[in-house]
């Protein structure tokens, strides 16, 4: 098993970040062209805690390295199953994801937590655990795990940049909305 972890601070409130998070892979993000579709599968609010639980299916363009593709079989898309929990009292968003595609060969478990540092800043903490499952072949297992860790490292930077532009656009859209409401009054 290999682990990848990172922490990033965004200069936006937790409310802004948790709202923009639902649009993370939308048209405002020009660094997420690998995400083709995001579908909501299930959504409910726990009546006692107020926690909002959401299941989503994220469909990506297959981007595994060529050698890995030829080893595991060619496929156009790969899919991720994500369950997120918004706790409005504790002000946390926790997202737990795992790969649906090739799940019998490699297991990628990712946990992301967004929590406020103060009224204007939010921390993003990401932790991914990658385990190749094919029997025996330790060298191949290591190569699969290493190549996925490299992919996480490359995506961390792109992910930050892309989400920054979503946050920026989202803040602007909400400001315009408020202005419209004020003008109408």
């Amino acid at each position: 098993m290999k682990v990848f972890s990172t922490a990033i601070t965004f200069d936006y409130s937790w409310e802004e970040v948790s709202t923009a998070n639902w649009q993370k892979y939308g048209p405002w993000n020009d660094k997420a062209s690998h995400v083709i579709a995001v579908d909501t599968l299930n959504r409910r609010i726990d009546p006692t805690t107020g926690i909002l639980r959401t299941e989503r299916l994220i469909t990506c363009k297959q981007s595994a390295p060529e050698w890995l593709k030829s080893l595991l079989g060619h496929m156009d898309t790969s899919q991720v199953y994500e369950v997120s929990y918004v706790n409005p009292a504790a002000k946390t968003v926790t997202m737990v994801s795992q790969n649906l595609t090739l799940a019998n060969l490699v297991n990628v478990q990712e946990t992301v937590v967004y929590k406020p540092l103060n009224a204007h800043q939010t921390q993003f903490v990401q932790d991914a655990r990658i385990t190749a499952l094919c029997g025996g072949w330790q060298r191949i297992k290591n190569s699969i795990e290493d190549s996925l860790v490299t992919r996480f490292k490359e995506n961390a930077h792109k992910g930050r940049e892309g989400f920054e532009s979503v946050l920026h656009m989202s803040r602007r859209a909400f400001a315009e909305e408020r202005l419209k409401v004020q003008m109408a009054v």
């Binding site: 409310e15 948790s18 709202t19 639902w22 649009q23 892979y25 939308g26 048209p27 995400v35 083709i36 579709a37 995001v38 579908d39 909501t40 599968l41 959504r43 409910r44 609010i45 726990d46 009546p47 006692t48 805690t49 107020g50 926690i51 909002l52 639980r53 299941e55 299916l57 469909t59 899919q79 199953y81 369950v83 929990y85 918004v86 706790n87 409005p88 009292a89 504790a90 946390t92 926790t94 737990v96 795992q98 649906l100 799940a103 909400f174």
Partner: protein, 82 residues
């Protein structure tokens, strides 16, 4: 908003996503959205009706069942009051 994996569901998904985002930012985050029975419930039902067919056609429904089974214990950890 992002697209749906099934093109035929895009329109209803877009309507649901727009409704949800408004509800989330204007009600839920302000402590005024505490039930599943809200203004987006009807749209969600329509979206799911379309999506379920698409998931079944592509064989993704079975993979999802397995993933749900695998991740059950996460609910126990994350659904608690902290």
């Amino acid at each position: 908003m992002s697209a749906s994996l099934a093109q035929e569901c895009n329109e209803v998904k877009e309507r649901y996503d727009t409704c949800f985002l408004k509800w989330y930012s204007e009600k839920y985050l302000r402590g005024n959205g505490k039930t599943d029975d809200n203004e987006c419930a009807g749209l969600f039902k329509d979206y799911q009706k379309c999506l379920k067919v698409a998931l079944k056609d592509r064989g993704i429904d079975k993979l999802l069942e397995e993933a749900r089974e695998d991740t059950k214990e996460n609910d126990a950890i994350h659904m608690q009051r902290k």
